[in-house]
Subunit: 328 residues, 2 copies
């Protein structure tokens, strides 16, 4: 029998069809499916599109698929019913289970029934896993109220550092020039009638035109500036790592010493942040295995099998990983 | 001859008609006129409504009014022309000059041609005045990029402190209970399937429904919590004062030792912040006079006379203040 697994993310939505032995046979992608940042309608559209692409590639019909798992963050009540209706309309499998994307991220790195996951992409959150389910969650509360140490958080601080330097309040940093550059602006000495730099006014105007979460696009500038020794950038990175370590520390439980799975672009693409986080939890979690994963799709596949009552052993898990890698 | 002066604010818009000797003869108010927070259309509507009310109370027609000054923040190019057209259509005076609201705030507290103003209401900014005009500006860059120490800034920190305590990350603070209360919620021990407090989820849902600037409504909770010794609140207030002192310090110039005018609800209604700011600039500005003003309307009246070439002496200034007070 075949299973469907979908990992719904803020940047892309990915779907895979797999056999019950873990062999992945087809793969499809679509755009952002995060319901909080993209809206419920766009979310459902992306999930349907990614699934339809995978089903077409597999050459399967609905009756060939036993069940599916959709790994998604911040799904409101009613999302499951709405998805089933839209899936039915599109001739796609309708036996769907929604699972937290953080659980899928964890299972992308580990089959252990106890452990932790820390995810830092556009947002940031940590979970504690017991008995294969999420027992405690910290942060993941969005750009205005949380997501400490996330891509938005780092990008916002990059912009604040740039703006406050141009405003004469802040410390000197390469980020001022670089944020202006990213906005297609240049720094000149021209000032308006109230003594403000025209480049500052232009930058402020351009930045307020973005949706706040889009500030995450400035995060890479911080890592580049850190790499060349910029003090302000170094401090932002250190504070991001501290914030992520605190989030993970909040869900830590002395009784649970399973692995720590790290996921999301900030942790998977920025070794300096991941190293700092691991170092800061090092004392508390002696000998704990740290696993880095690049996305939650393998974990969603694990959940698709498990939720249908199948046992996922290490052999099956490895088959998921290997066959998925060769499909992408 | 008569003059019109309007002070356009984020909470209310106030208009006054005055004689050239400074005697204020009529007063009108309307709602928010801030073009950034309320939009250009609402801004113009409020300015027209406040002016029409004052003109009606004075029993004057357009030909009785020599000129008018509109003190306004963040007015985009074209605002002056749009205002004149709308004023003409409403039978109101059309010889209008736009002036920065920060200059009006300064002139509400001082006639000196050199000095400083620091305003902290929903937003926050400082200006240096030379030759009666703004020579340098710091901050006033809005909730996402600046306004350090403002009502929004303080309210946002109140909410972050509350949320992170409920999330298990943050220090214990009265603000958690109080922010929930302000949202009509109660703290219970109930948790969702992912181990998160239901009250936290409800608070997050309610807070994301607000426009970000509306978070300024939580600022008063910080001052109440500070008053009863809450450590987190005390730190927020101290950091707000430090931020405002830094903003003022940025525009400080050793050649300019005129008065410092403090304005806006955070400074005029919160003695603890104003005292800290004054103390922190104390060393830098020995003997400098500190003047607290409650709004920019007297200063707008000063500018209305000055912009038409009239000299405003201390007698005239006092007449503006006294007659305006008796009108309100």
């Amino acid at each position: 029998m075949n299973y469907l697994a979908v990992d719904v993310g803020g940047t892309s939505t990915r779907a895979v069809i797999l056999h019950d032995d873990g062999t992945c046979i087809a793969y499809g992608t679509a755009g952002s499916g995060n319901p909080t940042s993209s809206g419920a309608e766009q979310s459902v559209t992306s999930i349907v599109a990614a699934t339809a692409a995978a089903m077409a590639q597999a050459g399967l019909t609905t009756s060939d698929v036993a069940a599916g798992v959709i790994a998604i963050a911040g799904a409101a009540g009613g999302t499951g019913a709405r998805l089933s209706t839209r899936f039915a309309g599109a001739g796609l499998p309708t036996r769907l289970t929604l699972e937290p994307d953080l659980l899928a991220a964890y299972n992308s790195g580990s089959l252990a029934s106890e452990g932790y996951a820390l995810v830092a992409g556009t947002g940031a959150a940590a979970v504690r896993i017991r008995g294969g389910r999420i027992e405690a969650t910290c942060d993941g509360l969005g750009w205005l109220l949380g997501d400490a140490g996330s891509g938005f958080w780092i990008g916002h601080r990059a912009v604040l550092a740039a703006i406050s330097m141009l405003d004469g309040r802040g410390q000197s940093t390469l980020l001022a020039e670089w944020v202006l550059g990213e906005l297609g602006l240049h720094r000149t000495s021209e000032r308006d009638r109230d003594g403000r730099l025209v480049a500052l006014n232009d930058a402020v105007g351009a930045l307020y035109k973005l949706r706040p979460v889009e500030l995450s696009r400035f995060a890479p500038l911080v890592f580049e500036a850190e790499a060349v020794g910029d003090d302000v950038a170094r401090r932002i990175v250190a504070e991001a790592a501290d914030a992520l370590a605190a989030t993970l520390g909040t869900v830590a439980d002395p009784d649970i010493d399973g692995p720590v799975v790290l996921a999301g672009s900030i942790l998977s693409q920025q070794p300096s942040v991941a190293q700092r986080v691991v170092r800061s939890i090092g004392n508390a979690v002696d000998d704990r295995r740290v696993v880095m994963v690049s996305d939650g799709l393998p974990g969603a596949a694990v959940l698709a099998l498990r939720d249908d009552g199948l046992r996922v052993d290490h052999e099956t898990f490895e088959r998921i990983q290997t066959s998925l890698t060769s499909l992408r």
